[in-house]
Subunit: 305 residues, 2 copies
């Protein structure tokens, strides 16, 4: 309790929230100027992102129906993109991931956080990466300009990276640095950069020939780690079903989604999502994600408010 009150009364709080507000304003303006439609989050659904790592169950029962709390908006984004008239969508949604206590160590995991989830129709991975680079450049320069005083207070300098950003292939990084490659290279680099080709959830597209994964992570420099994660999407029923089986997914839990895919209604899209708290942590240069979160839910920590 004392710690929570101390956290909420830090004088720095306004400074951090000002930077967060400017960053969100920049995201919003950028999306609006591109005609990307702003959707509202969905928090309860029979289906949600299966994630590629295990978390504790978070579901409730409403009138005999089991509803999962949203882990990400990926499946709902794909469903909206069925409509040909949609020029792209974004959603700022809470993501609930009841991580194990272990995850507290990373300094950038929370059991609930806000994700800006984006999806563009017919985009290639390179097109989505370009879009993201323009978005992040815009956000960085807007915050730099609008929050000059606040950044000075925090002793933080935001560097504007030159586009296009560097692109690394995960298998080459793994050879060079071992399994912990993301942390190591994030500490070495001076500007945000991409790492491509990650084995993960069924919905990220796989190249049928090379078996490489047509997906990408945007990573912050200076050891701040992952910023955004995304990929081109699978939309063909047979491929989705095979990849779900490879990942030992319970197909019955995804029956309505699979039935949409079987009808051939899913479309080729590419997208990604980035955490607001991680963005603010990077912009403010704070060590721990809880330093920039009003009511931080660190894995394993008791929650007062």
């Amino acid at each position: 309790m004392e710690e929570t009150l101390k956290h909420l009364s830090k004088p720095e709080l306004r400074t951090i929230l000002k930077i967060q507000s400017a960053a969100l304003k920049a995201v919003d303006s950028f999306m609006y100027s591109r005609g990307i439609l702003h959707l509202m989050p969905v928090m309860l659904s029979p289906v949600t992102d299966p994630l590629s790592h295990g978390v504790y169950d978070s579901s409730i029962i409403y009138l005999d129906q089991k509803l999962e709390l949203t882990k990400s908006m990926i499946l709902h984004k794909q469903l909206v993109m069925m409509s040909n008239s949609i020029p792209g969508v974004y959603i700022v949604s809470p993501n609930i991931r009841l991580e194990s206590e272990e995850c507290a160590k990373t300094k950038r995991h929370l059991i609930e956080f806000s994700q800006v989830d984006i999806e563009l129709p017919k985009a290639s991975s390179r097109e989505f990466m370009d879009f993201t680079e323009e978005l992040f450049s815009y956000v960085f320069s807007f915050v730099k300009k609008e929050c000059e005083k606040e950044l000075k207070e925090l002793g933080r300098e935001i560097k504007l990276p030159k586009k296009p950003l560097k692109v690394f292939d995960s298998s080459e990084l793994r050879k060079k640095y071992g399994e912990d490659f993301e942390r190591i290279i994030s500490e070495k680099e001076k500007h945000p950069f991409w790492i491509t080709d990650h084995y993960r959830e069924f919905y990220d597209k796989e190249d049928p020939k090379t078996k490489k994964h047509i997906n990408y992570d945007l990573v912050y420099p200076e050891g701040f780690g992952e910023a955004l994660s995304g990929g081109e999407r699978e939309f063909e029923f047979k491929v989705i079903k095979r990849k779900m089986l490879e990942r030992k997914t319970d197909l019955s839990a995804f029956a309505p989604y699979l039935s949409v895919a079987e009808k051939g209604l899913l479309k080729p899209t590419a997208g990604g999502g980035f955490g607001v708290e991680r963005l603010v942590r990077f912009l403010t240069g704070k060590e721990h994600i809880k330093d920039v979160t009003l009511f931080p839910r660190v894995p394993g920590e008791k929650i007062v408010f």
Copy 2:
């Protein structure tokens, strides 16, 4: 399933989402221009809004702690406003209210929706009402200008109301129209208007002398009903405790909140919240709230996605 797919493939969808996007853009720009800080939602907490009407339980267990799904951000807004340096806050947050099947009849209830929750320091009810009138005027005129084509497609005309809006006292309306006064007067009026003095949750301020409630609802005309609900807030421990007891609230469930109040840390503020879906329903002139919601959760209806 067929109905859900039909809903998601309506050609009108883009039109409605364009209007929603413009409305949210206007809200964001207005708040930023006023220096109101943009906070991220909290979805899981040991405490949430007790609400003044009963809903089904929505809580989960994480590592032996019971966490409620957010019904509104009211208590968290009050906690943030403890800090003197905060010039006002807003949050676009999902609110989960597992309403009974009965509520489906109103055409404007959902078991989850997005609320724009605002709180201003030291504001009087009239000051908050003025702020709200300026916000809504700005949103209406921005949407009217940016979405001329879309509004024409829907056959909807947005009228810009003259400020200040009419103010009605609930007890006078009750005398004139009976218990269903809100619906009746909403159907009669041509512009949004206020109804003040509602008996409800403990946190809305009560005038110690007159025993009137210093709170307000903004109501849409043409039968669209409630837009925004808010009030000045109680911040004194003794008053909060007495009002909780009057409402048969389980004090132990609010122990940490009460302890903050007892330390004298809560501040005088005023605020309110409005539903995004109801705003979009009014702007588009749609009959049912589910017409403007991508994945509508109507009380009692089975959820496919």
